[in-house]
């Protein structure tokens, strides 16, 4: 029902993201989506990959601090107001979006967004009730 996201702690030094992508490519892991959130000193790199377990092992073996989080991948109609409609739904349902970012591939005609919620089960139920397609771990790997 939801998707596993990997996050990596990085100091704000040049070349650190490249270290992560190099580690993953050497492990034969495909990056499906990637977003960086940073401050002046450090950042958190968030990743959706095709093999979470393998990615986690490879990163840990290379000395990175790795976290795993459940996130939601939802289809967003690729037209003006598509995202706005979803955010309004969530807002009215009193669900906080901690952060979100775009998935690279489309799902048919629709864009895919990754959401991090404070109350994930409630969020998924609300989206489904309102006809929003939520994509699970298996299907996202086929996009």
């Amino acid at each position: 029902m939801w998707v596993k996201q990997i996050s990596v702690f990085l100091e704000n030094k040049s070349g650190r993201i490249a270290e992560v992508t190099k580690t993953l490519s050497e492990a034969g892991v495909n990056i499906r989506a990637l977003a960086m959130a940073d401050t002046a000193d450090f950042g958190v790199l968030r990743l959706i990959v095709d093999n979470t377990l393998k990615a986690e092992e490879a990163l840990k073996a290379n000395g990175f601090t790795v976290g795993k989080t459940d996130v939601v991948a939802a289809e967003v109609e690729d037209r003006p107001g598509g995202l706005h409609r979803i955010l309004t739904l969530l807002h009215e349902g009193h669900i906080n979006v901690e952060y979100m970012y775009a998935f690279v591939q489309q799902s048919g005609d629709n864009a895919v967004m990754i959401f991090r919620f404070d109350q994930i089960e409630k969020a998924v139920a609300l989206l489904r009730q309102n006809g929003v397609t939520v994509i699970d771990d298996d299907r996202i790997n086929q996009l």
Partner: protein, 433 residues
Amino acid sequence: MIFDIEFETMPREALESIQLRRLQATLERAYATVPFYRKQFEKAGLKPGDIRSLKDLHQVPFTTKQDLRDNYPFGMFAVPMDNVVRIHASSGTTGQPTVVGYTARDVNTWATLMARSLSAGGATRGDIIHNAYGYGLFTGGLGVHYGAEKLGASVIPVSGGNTKRQIVIMRDFGPTILTATPSYALHLAEVAEEMGVSFRDLKFKYGIFGAEPWSEKMRDEIERKLGLVAVDIYGLSEVIGPGVAIECHEAKKGLHIFEDHFIPEIIDPATGDVLPYGQTGELVFTSVTKEAFPVIRYRTRDISALHAEPCICGRTLVRMDKVSGRTDDMLIIRGVNVFPSQIESVLMEMEGVSPHYQLVVDREGNLDTLTVRVEVDEHVFSDEVKRLQDLERRISKNIKEYLGVSAKVKLVEPKAIARSEGKAIRVIDNRKL
């Protein structure tokens, strides 16, 4: 159980009058018999008779480890060798060892203090004590041994080493009290596991651990792995050996100092000023009953603080904090004394924070700045930036609260802090003073 109910629960006023009487006698004797102490008094323009109150002790010069070394081996003895019945020495890892002597009465005093300590740590005369402190020049083994006999318990003088045989003895003899260094206690647990012996099946109830600094985290680990209640014992051969102070097993919060034999002070290591109760600084001891080797305002270089609040165990003796480090590591930042171990305590207390940290001191213009680098491990990591920023803020706030110094906290990647032979380098001082 309280071994010496009269002295361990004495009202403050009565205790202080005994301390003063014994202090005056000690100063008189040291002045008369030890040339070093006579010179110290003369340097300060003092006579022992000038010390009329406990407060007057503050005027007397300190004694340092170097002073003891300078008088190697027997120069600090206050009695003729005819009256010395025992000699111990501290390990001289750096430079000369320090040599201490005991009269028959000193040995008896020490045994009583150790009986009090074992008792405070949970031992009774019905117990079997597995004593894994080393026997020899080191005071640990014989200190516990004499105390155990004084208490009337059965003592197994197993000493250190030959760990596998120790496990067999533990299994076959069923000791109920373990005395050892905390690191050796954990080693025993490891070896027992390798041998397929579970500490849960042994009969241990209490463990009395000391002779090296150890953290609350280590206490948790020992209690979990050995299935016993672990208390801290403090002492140093220069003062008498183990049995200067002991944690009671009821509170396990600070070590009661046997003040009827030792007067403790906490001083600012930089200025030598005496600090009030509650403040952290260097522990200083004056012995008031020892005959062969009296020490007067001896600077231990151990970092602690004293607390006078009453204890649930009923003892009226002040408590010292677990020793958290050595004065040798002290930094002075904007006039505030900072010990790396204090930062470590702050981090430890905040659940989950990795103990790998480093203090970086810089001088910008005329202002010292302190940056605390903390490695982010999986326990504290979050995919949400605001949680990590919140962690930085909380650490910074706690450091300000406990140490009174502002620090910038910087989260860093694992292994970002340089290690030297496996140990993290705790302090980088970039100030050009």
